[in-house]
Symmetry: C2
Subunit: 371 residues, 2 copies
C-alpha cells in the first residue's frame, strides 16, 4: 500500500472514523484503524464491535495511488500524528509487510502495524428502500430526546433511543422512567414499519458525525442499523427486546393549562436550582397562583430561594408540585420557542411541557413527592 494524500483530507476522514474506537475496548485488534487502498480510492474503517464507521476517499481526492493494499494502524497516536503534521501532502507507505511509514519532506514516522487477517469481517449491509431524512432534522430529533435515556444498566433497554416508523411517521422516544422525551416527524413518504432501540451512546457518536447538511439514509435490520451520510457509513448494533409502551403514560387532558415565557421560566429554574445542585434529587417546587408561578427551593444548611415568573392560566385551580430541577432544565433546553405550555393535573401526575404552536415535541417529568 502506498499513497500520497493532502493532510486536511486525511485528517477529516480519520477524525470522524475514529469516533468508533472506544477507550474501553479490550480487543487489541479493534484499537487499530483499517486502511484499504483500492484502485478507486481509500477505504478507512474503525470499529469497537458495537459501532462501526467506514469512510471512502475517492481517487480524485488522493494525490497519488502507487500501490493498492491493506493495513491496520494502531489508532492511539495516529490522529495526533496527522493533526500535528504540517499542512502539506503526506506519504503513507507499507514496508516489510507490518510496518508503515508516514512521512513528509522533513519528518518520518515508522510505526508498527497489525495484521489485516486478524481484523473481524464486519458486514455493512443496505436495504432497498432506506428511510431518508435530512441530517439537520436527524440532529434535531437526537438533541430533543437523547438526554432522557437512562444511564443505568439495570434496565438495559432504557439506555437506548426508541425509533418507531409507522407509514410516514417517525417517532423517537427516550425515557429513564422518571422523565420522557418524545418527538414525531413526518417523513417524505410511506415506509415499512420498524420499532428499534439504538444504544444512546452510539447515537451520540452519530450526532457528532452529522456536521454538514445533507440527506441521511437509514437502513434498519433486526439486530443492527446502518446510517449512510456523505461518504460515511455508520453502523450500530441494536438493543434486543421490546421497548415499553409509553403511549398511555402521557396524559391527554389537563386540569391546569398555563403558558409562560420559555426564557424567563428556564432562567428562573436555573437560579432556584443553584442551592440544590449538590443534592441527589435536586428537588425544587413550583406553586401556581392566578397570574404567576412561584418557584422555590430549600437547602437547610445554606438557605432558601424563591422566584416568580408570570403565567397565563386557563382555570382558577392552583397546584403545588415538586420535581427534579436537572430533568426540568434538560427538558426546557429541547424547546426553541418564545412561549411554552406547562400542563398540570395533580401533584402526583406528570408535568407535561409542549410548544404552543407545534405538537411534535412532548417533554414529560414525573413529580417528586415531598412531605
Amino acid at each position: 500500500m502506498k499513497l500520497l494524500i493532502e493532510k486536511e483530507i486525511l485528517l477529516e476522514s480519520l477524525t470522524n472514523v475514529m469516533r468508533a474506537i472506544s477507550p474501553r475496548n479490550i480487543i487489541p485488534i479493534l484499537n487499530g484503524v483499517k486502511f484499504d487502498l483500492e484502485k478507486e480510492g481509500l477505504y478507512i474503517t474503525a470499529s469497537d464491535s458495537d459501532i462501526t464507521i467506514k469512510t471512502f476517499i475517492e481517487k480524485k481526492k488522493i494525490k497519488n495511488i502507487n500501490k493498492t493494499g491493506s493495513i491496520i494502524i494502531q489508532s492511539k497516536y495516529l490522529l495526533d500524528i496527522i493533526r500535528k503534521m504540517p499542512n502539506t501532502d503526506i506519504n503513507i507507505e507499507v514496508v516489510d509487510g507490518l510496518k508503515i511509514i508516514i512521512n513528509t519532506e522533513n519528518i518520518i514516522y515508522n510505526l508498527n502495524c497489525l495484521n489485516t487477517e486478524d481484523y473481524p469481517s464486519i458486514e455493512l449491509e443496505e436495504i432497498k428502500n432506506p428511510i431518508i431524512i435530512s441530517s439537520k432534522n436527524l440532529k434535531k430529533i437526537i438533541n430533543q430526546t437523547l438526554f432522557a435515556v437512562s444511564t443505568q444498566e439495570s434496565r438495559p433497554l432504557l439506555t437506548g433511543l426508541n425509533l418507531k416508523i409507522n407509514n410516514n411517521i417517525l417517532e423517537c422516544t427516550a425515557t429513564d422512567s422518571y422523565r420522557l422525551a418524545k418527538k414525531t416527524l413526518i417523513l417524505d413518504k410511506n415506509y415499512e414499519n420498524y420499532d428499534l432501540v439504538i444504544p444512546g451512546r452510539n447515537i451520540s457518536e452519530l450526532d457528532k458525525l452529522l456536521s454538514i447538511e445533507n440527506n441521511v439514509e437509514i437502513h434498519p435490520f433486526t439486530n443492527k442499523i446502518l446510517f449512510k451520510y456523505n461518504n460515511y457509513l455508520f453502523q450500530s448494533n441494536l438493543l434486543s427486546g421490546t421497548y415499553p409502551n409509553t403511549e398511555n403514560l402521557i396524559p391527554t387532558n389537563f386540569e391546569i393549562i398555563s403558558t409562560t415565557s420559555l426564557n424567563d421560566f428556564y432562567h428562573a429554574i436555573d437560579r432556584v436550582a443553584l442551592l440544590t445542585q449538590n443534592k441527589d434529587k435536586n428537588t425544587i417546587k413550583i406553586e401556581t397562583a392566578d397570574t404567576t408561578i412561584l418557584i422555590t427551593s430549600n437547602a437547610s444548611e445554606i438557605g432558601k430561594v424563591e422566584e416568580t415568573v408570570i403565567i397565563n392560566k386557563n382555570s382558577s385551580d392552583n397546584l403545588s408540585i415538586s420535581f427534579c430541577s436537572k430533568y426540568m432544565l434538560e427538558a426546557l433546553r429541547a424547546f426553541d420557542e418564545k412561549e411554552l405550555l406547562i400542563l398540570l393535573n395533580t401533584d402526583s401526575s406528570p408535568i407535561v411541557l409542549k410548544s404552543i404552536t407545534d405538537e411534535s415535541l412532548i417533554q414529560l417529568i414525573l413529580p417528586i413527592k415531598t412531605y
Copy 2:
C-alpha cells in the same frame, strides 16, 4: 448592612477576590467571603490563610449604601448566584444578624451567614517604597518562568518562584532541579535588595488577577508579600529558607552555538514527542550535523520517528544529546522570537536556550543519560 449594586460590578470583584478561596481549605470560616460596607464603599475579602485578596468598590460605583456593617457569606454558591442573576441592580441586606437577603425584583435568595467575629484578622501591610512594575511585564515574567517550579514537596523551596531585587535589577528564577528558567528585568530605579520565594500556586492565582494593563506595586516583607493592583490587594505568604544559588549552574561558554527557527524547532519537538507522551521521561534525542539537527524518538512497541530542522552552527563539532521533551516544549513556549539560540557543550552538560537579541531570558534543561 444594606446596599444596592449593579450586578456586573459585584460579579467582577467577587470573581477576582474568590481566587483566594482554596477547594482544599479545611477551616470552615475561610470558606466565607467577608463583606465590609463602610461609608466610603464596600470592601470584599477572601483568604485561605496562604493567599488573601481584598478589593474595594468605591461609593460612587454603588447605587445605594443604606446601612453600613459586616457579614461573612458562604462562598460555595455565591459566585454562581450572582453570575446567574439578571443584568440589573442587586439588593444585598443583612437580616436577623446572621442571614442575608440577595434579591432583585423577581428573585430572592435567603442565605445563612457566618459570624464576622470568627474571621481571622489578616493584616495587609504596605512598605514606604514599593517596587513598581507594569502588570504586563509582571505577567510576562511569570509566564516565562513559573512552569519550571517543582511540583514535588520533597524540596519545598523549589515549589516557589525566586524573586531577587538588586538595586534596579529584578531577577526571577524557577527550577525543579531538572530544568531552570531565569528572567531578568531592569526596573525604573534603584530599590532595596530583596531575595524572596513565593509559592508557585499563589503566583499562578496572581497571574489570573492581572487582566488589565496598569502598574503593580510590590510590597515585600520577611514572611509575606503584598501586590497592589487596581482596586485589589493580593497578599501571599513566602516560603522560608534560602533559595539555592543557581548562578554557577548556567554555563557561560559553549562548544556549539547554533541558531534555528523557533517555530520549526518547536513543532518538530512536538511531533517527535508524540510517541513518548505516555512515558515517564518523554525522552527524545537531538543530533547536530553541519547544517541540520536531527530529532528522534523511539517507543519500542509503537515505532520510531525522526525529523530534521535546519540550523546555523558556529563550529564543525557535533553532538548527540537526550532530554525530556515536555521540559523542552515548555521552555520553548517562553520565547516570543523568530530565531532561537541553542547552546551546547557535552552530552552531560545542560542545554541552554536564549533569544538572539535579548539576553534577559535563559532556559536551561539538563540532559538525560541514555545507554
